[in-house]
Symmetry: C2
Subunit: 221 residues, 2 copies
DNA sequence: GGAAAATAAAACGTATACATTATACAAAGG
DNA sequence: CCTTTGTATAATGTATACGTTTTATTTTCC
């Protein structure tokens, strides 16, 4: 069973893990709904063993919930859960930002600036999907500047959970503009290595992110 | 195949997950060393399927490292890794403490105080293991007072990883006394709902924790 | 006709078997 | 004698088979 496509992962359960994550984020697997192993196996063309391994992995990550003798279901997030996650992710980014102002090299900061400029381009073209991805990438990059592997890992896990939410919460043009403005402040503060300024910018950005999605999530969560 | 022991979990892979975690913490499985599935299966008296599921779960948790086609190994933590984890766990506890000062009920705070008194008893009796467990329990409890499930989960994961380290780092009598003193300050600040005081107490406590274990870990990590 | 019990179907949990990949050792060639 | 290559062994990766629990359905009894 040799893969035809060139992007073949080494292990199947890794690929499956990635695939199921995407399916959850894109809404193909619905919140709170049960994940039946049989049908999903057939759909993905794999056997139950690697699929179950993937589900266990995602369970520890918090995207999937396991109930003994009743299998897996897509973890359902209440509004409270989401707010909680944003509180934590905010603290993480603030911490990362503070460290980054001390530790990051000029070159690294320049890379983030480049990402920011790229994102501005998507904003001008009103390319929401590309903007969205660049946005996430910037936040991840700032965290990476802390050179703290634990922080990077924990932040990535949380961001992964929130992807689904942000995916839904497409706000209007005015709010979008505000978000871009907040980003500009973030980058400027980072370049000036102004830790307090960066913390404040990151904090208000994430607080606003919560406000932006707050009304949208009622439908689903 | 009904379990003889009374502590049987509903699902085997859950029990195995717990067991392997303990084996890592207690040093039965050595840092950096490979985990061979066959022998471990035989030792635990289970088949490979649930054991592999447990390994995938622990991998996402960060205790185990998976390499394609080369299986699992006990994650090896460098001194830098440990410092990173402590930085993050410190931020988490500070955040939790701040929220707890606002949200926690008097009854909940009283419970933490009770735990603290219990811990003092173990300290007087020089019962290190019981003290150690009560210590962990207090930190977890404070985080729980934030009523933030995400924070609780993330903190628990990190604390789980650090257990092995703290397990080694038994410091001398003077340092132990200092740690107890720091705890006293924490609890007092919490009871007074003095967020700043609690943050400071927690922060210095974890900074000192790092100093206390710093020289001990060179042997292993 | 409705409720409870028995039964059948389906899904999960676990074990075993097979395929693939890595590793160690030995033999052959330079 | 060292290097290289081929082969054997062992470990991981994946699929299938079996047992158990849950759930839906049907039948029976009130």
């Amino acid at each position: 069973m040799t893969q035809i496509g060139s992007i073949s992962r080494n292990t199947l359960h890794d690929a499956i893990t990635e695939r199921i994550r995407d399916m959850i984020i894109e809404g193909e697997l619905v919140q709170g709904e049960r994940i039946y192993e049989g049908p999903l196996c057939e759909q993905l063309g794999v056997s139950r063993t690697p699929l179950r391994e993937a589900l266990r992995f995602l369970a520890s990550e918090g995207l999937v919930e396991l109930t003994p003798n009743r299998g897996a279901s897509v973890r359902r997030f209440s509004a409270q859960d989401i707010e909680d996650m944003l509180v934590v992710i905010r603290a993480m980014e603030e911490l990362a930002g503070k460290i980054a102002c001390e530790k990051a090299s000029d070159a690294e900061i320049a890379e983030v600036r480049a990402l920011h400029e790229e994102m501005l381009g998507y904003y001008r073209n009103q390319d929401r999907l590309a903007y969205y991805k660049a946005n996430q990438s910037i936040h991840s990059s700032i965290v990476r500047l802390s050179h703290n592997a634990t922080l990077v890992h924990a932040h990535a896990g949380l961001q992964s959970r929130l992807k689904r939410i942000r995916f839904i919460g497409h706000s209007g043009a005015d709010k979008w503009a505000a978000a871009v403005e907040e980003h500009e402040r973030m980058i400027t503060a980072l370049e000036a290595r102004d830790a307090d300024g960066l913390i404040q910018a990151l904090g208000s950005h994430l607080t606003n992110a919560w406000l932006r999605v707050q009304d949208k999530i009622q439908d689903e969560a």
